[in-house]
């Protein structure tokens, strides 16, 4: 029996499981609050699952393993540490955000600053960035699946398209139920592959000893040759300099801390305590998972110091399970790799939908539309966004993938100051929030066009300064008026 048929059979079983887990949300959902934040009903368990599953995308599953493979453990400082830094900011966020009875982050901006246009701006940003993000997830999934299942690329993106539409139609209730399945699969597949890799290498100690000796190129056409012991060096012996790591705190860390996909999880948690526990427990689970991924990445390098047939870091993990450590578990591990982007993409699709229907449409028309009608509009919009993502993912524009790396920068350059400032700084004003939002986005775009590698740093700084200055100015003006 060929490998691809084994993978397809696994995939078919996964489909049935996903269909089963994803159903039920439809009938539980009665209104917008049910649809977007599951009526703020999630307990600790459910919150942890959905938080982790949303977090754990292809960027973790394939990106981290591939980067560890190429650059070694400096990846921890480059990506994992900034992410965790962002998550710690979530704890701070959770203490205050639950004070506001909101459904979306842009709605928080509207209520805090009493500005409809701020909600519209936020909604617009959410729609655009998440649509782009979904394209990247869809394309990433398509590449892996079409290669491993040996099927047409279009069929494989059609599959993830159907999966995410199916789960998102049921709202957060459905999405969160599939998150339980997907995260479980991710955990199982990481543990299984880490165990198989460790067994093949000969134990943890041997792994690090052998990793220190490696001094080859990771891929044939890779620019750098790994220096000996470079894999275990915090800055990869200069390949990941401290400055790059510092910058990534702005891009990844602050981006993650303001990314509405996590703020929404804080909102959907039952209460403040649950939200806080959710973040802490999630970080514990994620640490274990990342430890597994590091073992897999390093182990892959030890087992195959140079992979000739691939050129991108994202292909390391799929290559590994399909070739180097091919075993009866490979099908299961592959499903874990598929589950990661699906569970992230459906969260994002739901958010994109809330950005349009809730933050823009309902906010602007201010209509008292019936719940059923509103949910139907949502489903139509979900269908449209997913279809756009599908069509664009057929031949993803190169520029899109390039800008995809900056997506998180959009969140930190726009939402960061108004969100955290609005929660923790009493003198923040509407004018300050709008000005910082616009200034941040313009700065970011200018730096992206100029070709800067780290456009989110100036974006965050400009937006922060604008926020402070404009808010202070209008606050003084406002209080002066009050005195008169």
């Amino acid at each position: 029996m060929s490998k691809s048929i084994i993978y397809i059979l696994h995939f078919a079983i996964y489909t049935i499981l996903l269909l089963f887990f994803g159903k039920g949300g439809f009938k539980k959902t009665n209104n917008a609050r049910d649809f977007f934040v599951a009526n703020n009903s999630f307990g600790v368990m459910q919150s942890v699952f959905t938080y982790c599953a949303t977090w754990f995308s292809a960027a973790s599953m394939q990106g981290v393993t591939g980067n560890v493979y190429a650059y070694g453990i400096s990846t921890i400082l480059y990506s994992i540490a900034p992410w965790f830094f962002g998550a710690i900011l979530h704890i701070i966020l959770s203490t205050k955000l639950k004070d506001y009875n909101v459904i979306t982050v842009p709605e928080f901006l509207k209520i805090r600053y009493n500005s409809k246009s701020l909600q519209v701006l936020g909604g617009l940003l959410v729609v655009i960035t998440y649509t782009l993000y979904i394209i990247i997830q869809v394309a990433g999934f398509g590449i892996v699946i079409s290669e491993l299942l040996n099927i047409n690329y279009f069929i494989s993106i059609l599959l993830i398209y159907l999966f995410i539409i199916y789960t998102t139609f049921g709202g957060l209730f459905s999405v969160a139920r599939t998150h339980i399945l997907n995260l479980t699969l991710v955990i199982v597949s990481i543990i299984a592959s880490a165990a198989i890799v460790l067994e093949a290498v000969g134990g943890l100690e041997v792994l690090f000893e052998s990793a220190a000796l490696i001094n080859t190129k990771p891929f044939t056409d890779f620019t750098y040759v790994t220096e000996s012991s470079g894999l275990l060096h915090p800055f990869a012996k200069g390949q990941m300099p401290a400055s790059v790591i510092f910058m990534s705190f702005f891009g990844w860390g602050l981006g993650l801390s303001t990314n509405p996909q996590y703020a929404t999880r804080i909102i959907s948690a039952k209460d403040r305590k649950t939200a806080k526990k959710m973040i802490i427990y999630s970080l514990i689970i994620l640490s274990i998972l990342y430890f597994g991924l590091i073992i897999i990445g390093l182990g892959a390098r030890v087992l195959v110091p140079t992979i000739e047939s691939i050129s991108s870091v994202d292909e390391v993990f799929p290559y590994l399970i399909n070739n180097t450590i091919y075993s009866p578990f490979s099908g299961l591990i592959l499903i874990g790799i598929c589950a990661a982007p699906i569970s992230t993409a459906n969260s994002q699709l739901l958010l994109a939908s809330s950005g349009f229907t809730y933050d823009i449409y309902k906010n602007l028309t201010n209509k008292n539309i019936g719940d059923n009608k509103f949910l139907n509009i949502n489903r139509i919009f979900i269908f449209i966004v997913a279809t756009i993502a599908l069509i664009l993912a057929v031949e993803p524009p190169q520029s899109l993938l390039e800008y995809g790396g900056y997506l998180w920068g959009f969140f930190s350059s726009t939402f960061l100051a108004p969100l955290y400032g609005g929660l923790f700084w009493k003198r923040a004003t509407k004018q300050g929030a709008i000005a910082s939002f616009i200034a941040g986005i313009i700065t970011l775009i200018i730096f992206i066009i100029k070709g800067s590698k780290y456009p989110s740093l100036p974006g965050v700084i400009v937006s922060g300064i604008t926020f402070y200055i404009v808010s202070t100015y209008y606050h003084h003006k406002g209080s002066a008026k009050d005195e008169k």
Binding site: I5, K23, L159, I165
Partner: protein, 456 residues
């Protein structure tokens, strides 16, 4: 898992789908398997034939049998066909990779063979059947993919369909649960569908509408009976002293006012008038609270109307009101003559009062229904000031009036009298356009000899 509509539709549907997909896949695999098997048999037969030809050829060239055998075996071993074997006297001369003495008899292998009688050899091909199976399975990949896609889409559609069925039912249930008191009747079910659920919700809405109506009537009746008892109690107590007062005042007037035009005489007249009004009110109250049991008799409607109209002619002429009576036949009902007269009188008085000046009152008598269950419908229409919706609801309530001088008992009495005479009454009205009072009484007979027209 709850046994709800969604699952009841979804589970059988998905099972059927999976079953049909499995059947399709199995049939397709079986077919392809047979095809592969047939072609493999053909291939190996051809191969064996070739080898036999080759052996014949060698036999012809090399005459020594042993030498020829050895040459053939060496030659065949060199050609390294892994599935080929030769058996002589139950011993393998050439053994294929996969086969041994035991498995040659098992079903897992496809064996094609031919006797080579000259040497007493058996030449054969042994192919493992499972290897074809996997080969066939690999070719079914597209079918499995198509099945996955069809499964997701049909699952989604089933969920949407069952949701569309169960959701309105749930809404109906929630709605019915919400009905706790009469105020809940205000809300109507908002399910607009053309299917059975639509019919159900419409029926529910109708039911609630009737419930609401009956509920109001019930409340009204309750208050009516309370007021009735109260009023009857007081009325008696008031009427007796009133009679005494009136007699005394008449005696006083007789004694004190000899001249016709004395001012005192006018005062006395005024007092007597007022006493009469009180008396009237009290009588009305008594009529209303304890109406006399109807003395059922044959009552000709036209006679009653005629009599009533004579009584009110003065009032209607003063305002130049035209009264138009339309009928086809005189109808006799089984009712209390005086009750019916009182009913017409009260209604016509109201109609006249509603018209400020100049107007028209239509009295229309129609026969309804079939012979067995005949009804007469009497409509009294005016083009007066009409009644607004709010007041229309309270129109039969005792003491409800919009006129300063009214007692508010007229229509309450009408309602009671119509009811005890086995009739029905309904009032439609549009503000500033007019009012239509519709009554129905069971018919007792028809007098065909009456005049066809009687206009006033």
């Amino acid at each position: 898992m709850r046994n709800d509509i969604e699952n009841k539709i979804l589970i059988p549907f998905m099972l059927l789908l999976i079953l049909s997909i499995l059947t399709l896949t199995t049939i397709s695999i079986a077919n392809n398997y047979e095809l592969v098997l047939a072609s493999e048999i053909e291939n190996s037969t051809r191969e064996i034939k070739n080898i036999v030809l080759l052996m014949d050829d060698i036999n012809n060239k090399i005459h020594d049998e042993e030498e020829a055998k050895e040459f053939i075996l060496n030659n065949l071993i060199e050609s390294k066909n892994e599935n080929f074997f030769i058996i002589s006297n139950r011993e393998f001369l050439i053994r294929s990779d996969s086969i041994d003495d035991k498995s040659i008899d098992s079903d897992d292998f496809l064996i094609t063979y031919e006797q080579y009688e000259k040497y007493d050899w058996t030449l054969g091909y042994a192919l493992e059947k499972s290897s074809f199976f996997y080969e066939v399975l690999d070719n079914e990949k597209n079918l499995i993919l198509a099945a996955i896609i069809v499964m997701i889409i049909s699952m989604q559609i089933t969920i949407i369909v069952s949701y569309n069925i169960s959701k309105p039912i749930k809404q109906l249930a929630i709605y019915c649960d919400k009905i706790i008191d009469s105020s809940s009747f205000q809300e109507k079910i908002d399910v607009k569908r053309s299917d059975e659920i639509g019919t159900l919700s419409e029926a529910l809405n109708n039911m609630i509408w009737r419930l609401e109506e009956n509920n109001e009537r019930l409340i009204e009746l309750k208050s009516l009976s309370t007021i009735g008892q109260f009023a009857a109690g007081i009325a008696h107590e008031i009427r007796n002293p009133l009679t005494g007062m009136k007699t005394s005042i008449q005696v006083l007037k007789y004694r004190l006012c000899k001249e016709d035009n004395s001012t005192n005489g006018k005062l006395f007249d005024g007092v007597i008038n007022e006493i009469d009004r009180i008396n009237e009110l009290v009588t009305g109250l008594l009529d209303f609270s304890r109406p006399r049991a109807p003395a059922f008799q044959e009552t000709k409607i036209l006679n009653v109307i005629d009599k009533t109209l004579k009584g009110i002619n003065k009032a209607s002429e003063g305002k130049s009101i035209k009264i138009d009576l339309r009928y086809k036949e005189d109808i006799i009902i089984w009712a209390d003559n005086s009750h019916i007269e009182q009913v017409f009188l009260n209604i016509l008085n109201n109609a006249i009062n509603s018209i400020k000046s100049r107007g028209i009152i239509n009295i229309i008598i129609n026969r309804l229904g079939n012979d067995d269950n005949d009804l007469v419908e009497i409509q009294i229409q005016d083009n007066g000031c009409g009644i607004d919706e709010e007041n229309l609801k309270k129109i039969f309530n005792p003491f409800f009036t919009t006129r300063n001088k009214g007692t508010g008992l007229g229509l309450s009495i009408v309602y009671e009298l119509v009811k005890i005479n086995k009739g029905k009454i309904k009032i439609n009205s549009i503000l500033n356009e007019g009012t239509n009072v519709i009554m129905e009484f069971p018919i007792h007979g028809v007098d065909k000899n009456e005049d066809k027209n009687l206009n006033n």
